[in-house]
């Protein structure tokens, strides 16, 4: 990772311009040129140092339903339940965690009313309670990772 890579990660986590030639504008600010900047972003994406470059949307404001849910699954039944949960298209990500509450997933639905339906379906198909933990308040969401 060179200096420009670090500058891209540290200084480009927001504030990318909305203009005719935003990469050229940004390149000037970072002390490089447009083609160098584009090549570096391309390589950071290819190397998976960046997962994405572009707008980050606020899911709830797009009108759908969004929530975090957790389940307590006995270890010997975990894979069966994971398979049921994962095959639902509404599940955006699902993590195993080191806790009695050992399965945590984020689900997104086209409409807010779709959420309880999916949660009910999961409870019914797996036979376990689903603990719905939608956010009540958001205090801050911003990536501030530095390299």
């Amino acid at each position: 990772m060179d200096e420009l890579d670090r500058a891209i990660i540290n200084q480009l986590q927001g504030d990318f311009p909305v203009s005719d030639s935003p990469y050229a504008e940004m390149a000037q600010r970072l002390g490089t040129n447009e083609s160098e900047l584009l090549a570096h972003i391309q390589r950071l994406l290819a190397d998976k140092v960046l997962t994405r470059f572009g707008p980050m949307f606020h899911a709830e404001r797009l009108g759908g339903g969004l929530s975090l849910a957790a389940m307590k699954i006995p270890p010997d039944d975990f894979e069966r339940v994971a398979a049921i949960v994962n095959q639902m298209p509404e599940i955006a990500h699902n993590y195993a965690r080191d806790h009695v509450m050992n399965m945590w997933f984020v689900l997104a639905t086209e409409t807010p009313q779709g959420l309880p339906e999916v949660l009910e379906k999961i409870a019914h198909q797996t036979g376990y309670e689903v603990f719905n933990m939608p956010k009540i308040k958001e205090y801050f969401v911003e990536l501030k990772l530095q390299v």
């Binding site: 986590q13 990318f16 005719d20 994405r52």
Partner: protein, 157 residues
């Protein structure tokens, strides 16, 4: 959000085109003028539909390998004041109030903490504990042991 906003989201949610004039490329794909794409994206930034535009780093690739979901049982009457405080810490990426599910789950404040290893994440959690002080009754750090699915949030056409 109307059909044109939706088309712009569909065209950009996987990333902005890596060409000298990315908004012109989006305009061509959506079938509107570049000016309209830029006006609408600025409006989406203003009203918060777009949080930000830029690089989305991969924690693991940057060496942050111990990403802990820290969960806290905070006195309800102080949670807003303290949530704002915790959310400002530079090692916390997400900070939310969520409902308790008694008796199974008594934590109401969630903060994602990023560390290079578990010791660093624990030290950072300790800083949070100090800030919360008496208002916090208990806390835990939940590490992910396996990614079971990761497709990300996407709207579909």
């Amino acid at each position: 959000m109307d059909a044109i906003d939706r088309a712009i989201i569909l065209a950009t949610q996987c990333g902005l085109p890596l060409v000298p004039q990315p908004y012109h490329a989006v305009a061509q794909q959506v079938g509107i003028t570049p000016d309209e794409v830029m006006t609408r994206m600025c409006a989406m930034l203003d009203d918060g539909m777009i949080r930000r535009i830029g690089a989305v780093p991969n924690h693991y690739a940057l060496g942050y390998k111990a990403n802990g979901m820290t969960v806290w049982d905070v006195a309800d009457e102080r949670i807003d004041e303290l949530g704002v405080l915790i959310g400002r810490l530079d090692f916390v990426s997400h900070c939310y109030q969520r409902p308790r599910h008694l008796p199974d789950w008594n934590y109401n404040l969630f903060a994602m903490v990023h560390g290079h290893d578990k010791v660093e994440t624990q030290q950072k959690a300790f800083l949070i504990a100090e800030l919360l002080g008496d208002a916090c009754r208990a806390h835990e750090i939940l590490y992910s042991t396996r990614i079971l699915k990761k497709t990300g949030l996407r709207i579909t056409g």
